[in-house]
């Protein structure tokens, strides 16, 4: 006998009809939910880690780690503040249309970038380049601050002894390092929050979605701490392709489901949609390769690297 949803989903002004029982939730959609959230979180956290490591290396580890931790706390609060009311008060069908639309925008956007990167129309995401740019920017700010301090000390030698102790204090409570790490983690994490809330709320599995995202964040943080550098070896473009395919598939499914389209096989339609969009990815990538301008095509053919079908670079 199928179990109905727990009472927490049936309170509030808009009582949610028990249209979906827990027993109807197929393992396939749950698995895809976990994989999509984990992969999305993984790829965004790798990008965030790059910024945190850059802030740590150039401005000190304490403010960088404090900034990252603060951002993670704010993101967690956002998931609770947005996700729980969505589940409690919004009727399931309306929720699925809104969530599906949101996932479609994100998914199509990720898939578009993945196709452009895989076909050579867009440069692959380069963590090393981002790391170098962030370190250079932060170091330039540091140098500017130091030159200002030297100028002030030259004008007022009496204050020079007081100024000389400033860098040590700055290293401990460095607002710039904190802000850069916070902003990096928060901005990259916002997309993860949207995905967690959307997928979690639409399937009434917010806890599972949040746990999958947290697991990816912890994994990236642990690896980042162990190797103490950005993770440029992670096949980010491949993961983005997988996430783009999953978000688009879920988006199309939930929009249809919420609007009243009957999917043959119910939730089993999701793996079929995933297969369809994987085929679309490879077909569009192959076609877009034929559209590369001749000069770029020649460069790619004779250059040191070529782009593989999944967007990773190979010698």
């Amino acid at each position: 006998m199928p179990r109905t949803l727990p009472p927490v989903f049936r309170v509030g002004r808009c009582r949610v009809p028990p249209v979906v029982s827990v027993g109807e939730m197929h393992t396939s959609s749950t698995l895809i939910l976990v994989v999509a959230v984990f992969a999305a979180s993984l790829v965004e956290m790798v990008e965030a880690l790059t910024i945190v490591v850059a802030a740590g290396v150039s401005r000190g580890w304490r403010p960088a780690l404090e900034g990252a931790a603060a951002a993670i706390v704010v993101l967690g609060v956002l998931v609770l503040a947005v996700g729980v009311p969505l589940i409690r008060y919004i009727p399931l069908d309306a929720l699925r249309v809104v969530v599906g639309a949101l996932l479609l925008v994100l998914g199509l956007s990720w898939l578009r970038k993945a196709i452009l990167r895989a076909s050579g129309h867009k440069d692959p995401h380069d963590e090393d380049k981002i790391f170098a740019a962030t370190v250079a920017e932060l170091s330039a700010e540091d140098a500017a601050a130091q030159s200002t301090a030297v100028a002030v000390a030259a004008q007022s030698p009496a204050q020079s002894s007081a100024q000389s102790s400033a860098p040590a204090q700055t290293n401990k409570h460095d607002g710039i390092g904190f802000a850069v790490a916070f902003k990096g983690v928060f901005l990259e994490g916002t997309e993860v929050v949207l995905i967690v809330v959307s997928l979690g709320a639409a399937q009434h599995r917010l806890g599972l979605a949040a746990a999958a995202a947290a697991a990816a964040a912890v994994l990236v943080a642990v690896i980042g701490l162990v190797v103490a550098r950005q993770l440029s070896e992670v096949p980010e473009n491949t993961i983005k392709t997988v996430v783009g395919v999953m978000l688009t598939s879920f988006g199309v499914f939930w929009v249809g489901e919420g609007a009243g389209v009957h999917w043959p096989g119910s939730d089993l339609a999701i793996p079929v949609l995933v297969g369809f969009f994987v085929a679309v990815f490879f077909a569009f990538t192959a076609y877009m390769r034929t559209q590369l301008p001749a000069s770029i095509g020649t460069t790619a053919a004779t250059g040191a690297t070529t782009t593989t079908a999944t967007g990773t670079t190979a010698p």
Binding site: V97, G100, A101, L102, L104, V105, L108, S109, L111, R112, I115, L116, G120, H121, K122, T190, E191, T248, G251, V252, V255, G256, G258, A259, G260, V261, H262, W263, P264, A269, L273, F276, F277, V280, F284, M288, Q291, L292, P293, A294, S295, I296
Partner: protein, 73 residues
């Protein structure tokens, strides 16, 4: 403009950039797919075929728009 006004504007701009940004055709695609889904409510096979195909069509248009072009002589 007050601090609240600036905050609201910044919040709106953030979401506009996040959801629309430089690919307005994808936001348009989403609207079209939602509208189509409501038109096909109650359908089984037609909806299941048309919705992903329309999504793929918009994706193709958007990807084609974003291609690298040869520099003009």
């Amino acid at each position: 403009m007050t601090a609240i006004g600036r905050a609201v504007r910044a919040f709106g701009l953030f979401w506009w950039d996040f959801l629309v940004g430089d690919t307005p055709e994808l936001a348009l695609a989403t609207g079209a797919i939602v509208g189509l889904a409501f038109l096909l409510a109650g359908q089984r096979v037609v909806g299941a075929i048309l919705l992903p195909v329309v999504a793929a069509g918009f994706l193709f248009v958007s990807t084609y728009r974003g291609r690298r072009r040869a520099p003009r002589a």
